[in-house]
Structures are given as structure tokens and as C-alpha cells.
């Protein structure tokens, strides 16, 4: 009897597992375009904002779409794309894990499907290799340049109060999101270079990396995940050694994204900094996520560069709509900033410092 009970319980559970959860964004609209949207990682904060915007817009258009999470793994993404093609999708929207993956374009080409890349920039030859492909993203140098301009200006205005130990130099730490990523490289390079240019013009000394022995002049998330956790871990180690008491406190934090900036702030708060009142180290990020904006509002963070999730989503959806209406993939994009030689749309960044 007991066994019978177990068996029936197991069977119901099993069936429940398969039936109970079929809650995806299925759309009853049979005539709609069947779209597969492939995200590189659901756990990325900025990408999640794009996703919720895009979900709303695609729903409004009555598209039959489905979201996929590659969880940061290119192999998973390839498998998902192949499966979606076997499931007869009409359009691929891909936030590719690896930036130079020619294979995704090849697969789309072989299946004769239009493909829209977004956010994580693919190389020009990928887009050029297939007519029915386009990329929507930002210019990799712009975020760093804007961040640098913002930092430079802030330091020129507040140099003495930022220079805690009054040695006439600002010691900074920089958190890089990932090795070998065009965006991360651009942000890392230009944020420091551009603020140095402004500092120099104002007759002030250049920024100085807190650890002179570190020749790369940044600390990178070794998992390549741009994660807050990596920044917190680094910052905790740093703050154990560098403090006001030792007269060598870190005076500026630059992070490749808001997640890492937040990680650094949480660690700073452990030692009594950046709590909204009292001592504050300027911390800069990129993305302008909702939580970062909140921190800036509360005075716990200084500035970020806004990567406009909504504008990104609406540009992607515009191209999807083109396909739906049977138009050319790049139709109706006159108002956008498009690269000259290749079908790459650039969504502009803007500075965000709480206003």
C-alpha cells in the first residue's frame, strides 16, 4: 500500500513538473511573428531592465516571442538558437555571449532568418557577412569618455575635499568587468584617460592608482561577470590595508558598471563611508540602473553614465516590427545614429548625476 502511494505520488509529481510550469510568454496570436530573444545572462542588472522593457513592447505588438537565458555560456546559447530554429522561429534577436561569434550569424544565414544583435557588440565582419543582420548597441568608447568627463569635472570642482590625506594626489581604484570585452576595455581606458586630460588642463596632478605595484592599473572580475560580489571582495581586502588611520585611504572608485560600483559601496559602508551622511568617497559606475540612481539620490554614490535601456529596447523592437511588416530590416532608422560602413545602430549614452 505504501509503495502504491509512493508510486502515485511520484507520477503526479512528475506530471506536475511538466505541466504545471508552462507559463512562458505564449501568445495566442497565431498570425504573429514567432521571435526568439536570446539574452547572454538573466542575472545582469542592465540586461534585465532591457528585457522588461522589451517584453512590454513586444507584447504590445502582439508578437509571439520567447526569452532565453544563456547564463553566460556561449555553448548554451548556440544550443538554444539551434533548438529555436528547429522550433521554426521567424526572427532571432541575440544578445550574444561572445563578441566575435561568427557562428551565430552563420546559423541564421543557413536557416535564412533575419537576425538582430544587441548590447554586446559583435565585430563588423559578422554583420557584413550576412545581409539580413544588424547590430544595436552603444559606441564602446563613449561610456568611458563620459565617465571620465564627469569624474574630471567633479575633481576639478572638489579637489581638496576629495584629497583626504592632503598629499595633493587622488588615489583611485578601478574595477573592470571582464577581460577581452570591448566595452570593458573602452570604459577602463577612457574613464581614467579623459579625467586626466581635464585634471591636467586645470593644472592638477593626474590620478594615481592606489597600488603602485599593480601595473595593469585595474582589478578585474576574474569570473568575467561584472559582478558586485567581485568588487566587494576586492574592496574589503583593500580597505583592510588602506584607511584614514593609515593616511592612505582610497579617494576615488571607478567601476565599469553600476553593479560593481554598488559592490564597492557596500564594502565602503562597512567602514563607515558612503552612508549618505558624513564621509563619502566618490564612486562612479555605468548603466544608471534603478538601484544606482537611488544611491545617487541618497548621496551614497556620485555619478553614473546612463545606458538607456528603453531606447535600446525600442530600437530593437523597431527592427523586429520592420520584419513583421515585411519591410527591410534597416528601414525607418533615419532618426538613429548608424555607422557608415556597417548596419550598426548606436544608441547614445548620457551622464547621470542625480538631476
Amino acid at each position: 500500500m505504501k509503495k502504491l502511494l509512493t508510486a502515485s505520488l511520484i507520477t503526479t509529481m512528475a506530471i506536475g513538473l511538466f505541466t504545471g510550469c508552462s507559463t512562458g510568454e505564449e501568445n495566442p496570436n497565431e498570425g504573429g511573428l514567432k521571435v526568439g530573444v536570446f539574452y547572454y545572462n538573466f542575472s545582469d542588472i542592465y540586461i534585465s531592465t532591457v528585457r522588461s522593457n522589451m517584453d512590454d513592447m513586444l507584447n504590445d505588438l502582439g508578437m509571439d516571442f520567447q526569452n532565453y537565458d544563456a547564463a553566460g555560456n556561449q555553448a548554451t546559447q548556440m544550443d538554444q538558437i539551434n533548438t529555436a530554429i528547429a522550433n521554426q522561429v521567424d526572427l532571432l534577436i541575440v544578445n550574444s555571449v561572445e563578441i566575435s561569434s561568427m557562428d551565430i550569424a552563420d546559423v541564421a544565414k543557413a536557416a535564412n532568418l533575419p537576425i538582430i544583435f544587441f548590447n554586446r557588440e559583435v565585430t563588423d565582419d559578422v554583420i557584413l557577412s550576412y545581409d539580413n543582420s544588424a547590430y544595436i548597441g552603444t559606441s564602446s568608447s563613449e561610456a568611458g569618455q563620459l565617465q571620465g568627463a564627469m569624474i574630471g569635472q567633479y575633481l576639478v570642482d572638489n579637489f581638496d575635499s576629495v584629497d583626504l590625506n592632503k598629499d595633493g594626489k587622488i588615489s583611485y581604484v578601478l574595477f573592470k568587468g571582464q577581460e577581452g570585452n570591448v566595452e570593458a576595455d573602452g570604459r577602463t581606458k577612457y574613464s581614467v584617460e579623459d579625467s586626466n586630460v581635464i585634471l591636467k588642463a586645470a593644472g592638477l596632478p593626474e590620478l594615481e592608482f592606489y597600488d603602485v605595484k599593480n601595473s595593469s592599473k585595474y582589478l578585474v572580475d576574474q569570473g568575467g561577470n561584472w559582478s558586485a560580489q567581485a568588487a566587494t571582495d576586492y574592496m574589503n581586502v583593500i580597505l583592510a590595508e588602506y584607511s584614514e588611520a593609515n593616511n592612505n585611504m582610497i579617494e576615488l572608485v571607478i567601476a565599469n558598471n553600476d553593479g560593481m560600483a554598488e559592490g564597492a559601496i557596500s564594502s565602503l559602508q562597512n567602514v563607515g563611508f558612503n552612508t549618505g551622511s558624513g564621509k563619502t568617497i566618490p564612486v562612479y559606475g555605468v548603466d544608471a540602473t534603478d538601484s544606482a540612481k537611488q544611491l545617487i539620490k541618497e548621496g551614497k554614490m556620485t555619478g553614473t553614465v546612463m545606458q538607456d535601456a528603453q531606447a535600446m529596447a525600442s530600437a530593437v523592437v523597431l527592427l523586429a516590427e520592420n520584419i513583421k511588416n515585411g519591410e527591410d530590416l534597416m528601414a525607418n532608422t533615419d532618426s538613429y545614429n548608424v555607422d557608415e560602413t556597417v548596419d550598426k545602430i548606436r544608441v547614445p549614452y548620457s551622464i547621470y548625476s542625480g538631476n
Binding site: T83, S101, G224
Partner: protein, 353 residues
Amino acid sequence: MKIETKKGVTPEIKKISINQVIDFLLNNALFILMGIAIIYIAISNENFLKWPSIINIVSQTAAYLPAALGIAGCIVLAGTDLSAGRMVGLSACISASLLQAVNSGNKMWPQIGTLPIWLVIIIVMLVCAIIGSFNGFFIAKFKVHPFIVTLGTQLILYSVLLLYVQQGTNRGMAISNLDKGYATFVKGSLPFMKIANVPIPNYVIFALIITAIIWFIWNKTTFGKNMFALGSNEEAAKVSGVNVFRTTILVFALAGAMYGFTGFIEGARIGSNTANTGLNYELDAIAACVIGGVSFVGGIGKIRGVIIGVLMLRLIFIGLQMMSVDQNLQYLIKGGIILFACALDMRKYLVKK
């Protein structure tokens, strides 16, 4: 290790008691579950059982199979191998870097042309087999648990990978733009290997050959018998003359060679290789093995089970996608099925005790 199959079979023609029926159901629960799953998915999405989809399932299974076959050996020894994923990554990066197109703008080693494919396969399998025997040596010599040893090598290999992708002209970029010959060798298909005009990629054939070889090693060689003897009872194996030291090293070396081969396939299949390639492959491979009844207790396991385990995992992956299950819930379902399948499987052994 072979007793459990006999148990479910209905004995003679006497009366079949209800208990026997239930035993049969539970002992074959995995197959029944798989059947239910396939039928249900096929009903909710007709594309699931069309040829392109079936070949997609078979190809994905084939791609993940060699690594699982390798790790299965380690599990039979009552061990595990956490360094598998990183070895796959290392092998993928080495294969890709040695087989980049000559005219590639970002060729990692411009001074050497494109090597012959067979040579690269031998190189990566050898490199990984050596790393594997290093694992085996530590385990056998110092009696450190495989979990610890391979956790160590996993970390060491990540450093090796990070350093490797910065060598030559590459500077940490993804290694892509591969030689056409390499891509065709792996992803292409023989002219007659087509079903309903859908080509079957070559790596499915490779996986078949690898499976046949491993089956032979496990079942028909002294080494295979020794491996199972050692896994079920080390003392007994030692007393009956099994060379524990050599067998352990060989099992891990063989596993390494399998990861090396998987890396070679993945290098071309993914087409863009970084230090993160292969991340967490060992977890999927281990999950596949335990789902397929390769027991962590040691000394128990069949090639058939490994294949079913890999197929089951791929069915979950593809099925959930085809049923449009919300991706946020997919991890929950995958986790649930792994727990469920293994609990069912363990039940068989618990009953015997």
C-alpha cells in the same frame, strides 16, 4: 552491478503481484518519465518530433557525451572530477588557436600555419590525458579525495587558461575565425548522412565511435574490470592483485583524454573560445551520470546509463524551451528532475540493503 536489471523482469507466468508491478514501474521510472515527457512535449509542440528537432536533440547529446563518459569512470572509482570543465576549455582554446584560418586578422600564432587536424586532436587529447594522470597520481599516491584534488586542478587550470589566451597576439580576446577545414571536419556532414534533407553533423559519428571504444574498455578489458573492482571495494581489489596506483592514474588519464576530445569538438561547435569556455561542463556531466545510474557509491554504472543521462538532460533543456516554459523557472525544474531521478535511482540500492 548487474543485478538490478534482472529484478524488474516478471518471473515465469505465475500471478503477478501488485508489488512486482510497482517495483517494475519504479525500477524503470526513468524510462517511463522520459516517455511521458516526450509524449507531453510532442503534444504541446508538434515541431518537437519533426526531423530537424530530433537531429538537434541527437547532435546536442553527442556533443556532451564524451565528457560524461570520461567523468563516469571517475565516478565508478567512487570519485569525481571537478577539473573537467576547465580541461574542456583548455582543449577548446588550444584546438582553436592551432586551427585558426591563415588569413585571420587576429591569428594567435601567426608564425605557424594551420596544423593538420589529426595532429591537433592528438595534441589536445595528450595534454588533457597528462593533466588527468596528474589528478590520478595525486589521488593514488597521497590518498587525497578526488573532490579536493580536482578542485585544486580546476583552479590551477583556470590560471593556465587565462594565461594561455593572453599568449601570442591574442591578448585575452576570444579565439575565433577558425580554419574552414576544422569547422567542416566537426560540424559538416558526410553527403549521405542526411535524414529528410537535414544533415547530421560529423561529431555525432565521432561520439558513436568514442562510445563504442569506451564500452569496449569498460566491459572487455582487464583494465575495465579492475576499475569496477577498485570502485566497489579498494581493499578487496588490492588483495586480489589489482594495481590500484596504475588503475587510478589510467582512469583519470582516460577521462582527461575524453575532455580533450570534447574540447576539440566544442572549439569548432562554439566557434569563439575564451577562458570561460567549458565552465561548469563537469556539473552537467556529473548530473548526467548520476541520472543515468552511475552511483557515487562507486563500482556501479553502465555506458547505457550515461547515454540516457545525457539524453535526459538534453531533453529537459530542449523540451522546456519548446514548451515555452518561462526561463526563470527552468533551473528549478532541471534541479527538481535531477533530485527526483537520483532519489528514485538510489531507492533501488537502498531496498537491497
